[in-house]
């Protein structure tokens, strides 16, 4: 950071901490709004909430890494070697959430199957005779 005077870098840090604080307040207000705490009867769909929250969190993460951890001033090789591997997590998230959703589906299926009742069907012929015999 040879290119910034001390006063400039202090000013920059102060600016970004305020931005981060404002984003955090927005997140909390949006969470409260979405769940119907702020305005009676107003609620936001869960997926929109999640999407907005994730985007705001990623913006915060970017600011912390680039401004506070000075990733901005590192050479491209370092930036790539640290940040590119995290892209693997994108697939990890997709794969594990997919799997989790499938567990949920199976659990529901088993619950539904457990609720099913079977009525005894009286049949004729050999099977029917067998059932009668067994019941006696």
């Amino acid at each position: 950071m040879g290119h910034m005077t001390h006063e400039e870098s202090v000013k920059s840090a102060t600016k970004w901490i305020i931005v981060l604080a404002v984003i955090t307040i927005c997140e909390v207000l949006f969470a409260l709004l979405g769940k119907g705490y702020l305005i009676e009867g107003v609620e936001v769909a869960t997926w929109i909430m999640a999407l907005v929250m994730i985007i705001m969190s990623l913006v915060k993460a970017y600011l912390i890494v680039y401004e506070f951890m000075h990733m901005k001033y590192e050479v491209p090789g370092l930036v790539k070697s640290v940040l590119l591997p995290t892209l693997l997590l994108v697939w990890a998230v997709i794969a594990f959430f997919w799997e989790g959703a499938d567990w949920n589906k199976r659990r529901t299926l088993i619950d539904d199957k457990n609720k099913e009742t079977v009525e005894t069907v009286r049949t004729t012929g050999q099977t029917g005779e067998l059932i009668k015999e067994l019941e006696q």
């Binding site: 102060t14 604080a21 997140e27 090789g77």
Partner: protein, 334 residues
């Protein structure tokens, strides 16, 4: 041998830009800083593993505790204040990140006094965060009886009406907290003198105990003295009061059911993830103290590298804040 060595020396002299000669900094960062970055990358994967496990298990369950009901207490006996306390914690960590930046900036201009002061403020921030977490944990464990295997926070998947008239009816997705009944304390039995069980029960009913201010605790609840099946509720072996309700929606409409404990994994995930993060904060505070003392003693002046050690602990400290952004996201916001 001697010849070979001479040859190598000559080779060395003629190729000053050779990458193997040493003294070069790959990526123009010092060894320590570069390795701190790679450590943080690996740590990010550890946290990602934890958080992804949380997400996968949460998606796998038909219902999940609602965060703003679980984390809704505030010191001083306040309840139903969703997200207030955890927002305070977030701000404490965020501003300790700012004081850390200032310490690093004073390091660049070799201003010792400034570094010590800003690092000291960062340590205070870290300790305040840990204090908040201790309070949050003790509330969850001590008052709300959450453990790594038992989670008293649940969410209904159907609408219904409680048999206890004090509790009324609820919608689909209603969030509840199971309370424990109060066995007559052994300590009181020992004292004995004129302080019978009945008096004690009245004490509770009158709400002397802070726990009874928790939402959803009824007068009937205060009368339970031992596990068993009661008209309005079942008190299980662990002492949790499971209220009975009549289902009013879905396939099971008309049936009477009993509340159940919430998803088991919730407690383990919460304590392990916030605990692992808290452990990072704790180690961060320890290193901050060590480095602050070293700065104050003038150790780093001799190194003449612009207080690089402060920069390295700064990277770590910001990372702890970065992880909290995501813990805050998955546990509290979504």
């Amino acid at each position: 041998m001697a010849e070979t060595l001479t040859h190598t020396d000559t080779h060395h002299d003629h190729n000053e830009g050779d990458a193997w000669d040493g003294g070069k900094q790959p990526f123009k960062a010092s060894y320590g800083k570069l390795m701190m970055w790679y450590f943080l990358l690996s740590d990010a994967f550890t946290f990602a593993g934890f958080l992804i496990a949380y997400g996968a298990l949460r998606i796998a369950m038909p219902s999940w505790p609602i965060a703003d009901k679980v984390f809704s207490t505030f010191p001083g006996g306040f309840h139903e204040k969703p997200l207030y306390f955890v927002t305070l914690m977030t701000f404490i960590l965020l501003f300790s990140s700012y004081t850390m930046v200032r310490a690093v900036q004073d390091g660049h201009r070799e201003y010792k006094k400034g570094i010590v002061v800003w690092m000291f403020l960062t340590i205070l921030g870290g300790l305040a965060f840990l204090g908040c977490q201790a309070w949050e944990w003790s509330t969850l464990i001590g008052k709300e009886h959450m453990t790594i295997t038992k989670n008293p926070f649940g969410t209904t998947t159907e609408a219904g009406t409680y048999l206890d008239p004090e509790l009324g009816s609820f919608e689909v997705g209603h969030s509840y907290l199971l309370h424990k009944y109060h066995a007559p304390h052994a300590a009181h039995d020992d004292h004995g003198h004129g302080h019978g069980h009945d008096d004690h029960a009245e004490d509770h009913a009158a709400g002397h105990d802070d726990e009874h201010h928790l939402p959803g605790f009824t007068k009937t609840d205060a009368t339970y003295t031992k596990p068993g099946d009661y008209p309005y509720a079942v008190v299980n072996e662990d002492g949790f009061i499971l209220h009975k309700y009549k289902v009013t929606s879905g396939e099971d409409a008309g049936k009477t059911k009993t509340e159940t404990l919430g998803p088991k994994a919730f407690g383990a995930l919460f304590f392990f993830i916030t605990g692992f993060h808290g452990f990072h904060v704790f180690s961060g505070v320890v290193f901050l103290i060590i480095i602050m003392v070293n700065v104050a003693s003038g150790l780093y002046v001799k190194r003449r590298n612009g207080y690089e050690m402060v920069e390295k602990i700064g990277l770590y400290w910001h990372f702890v804040d970065l992880v909290w952004v995501f813990v805050f996201l998955v546990f509290y916001l979504i």
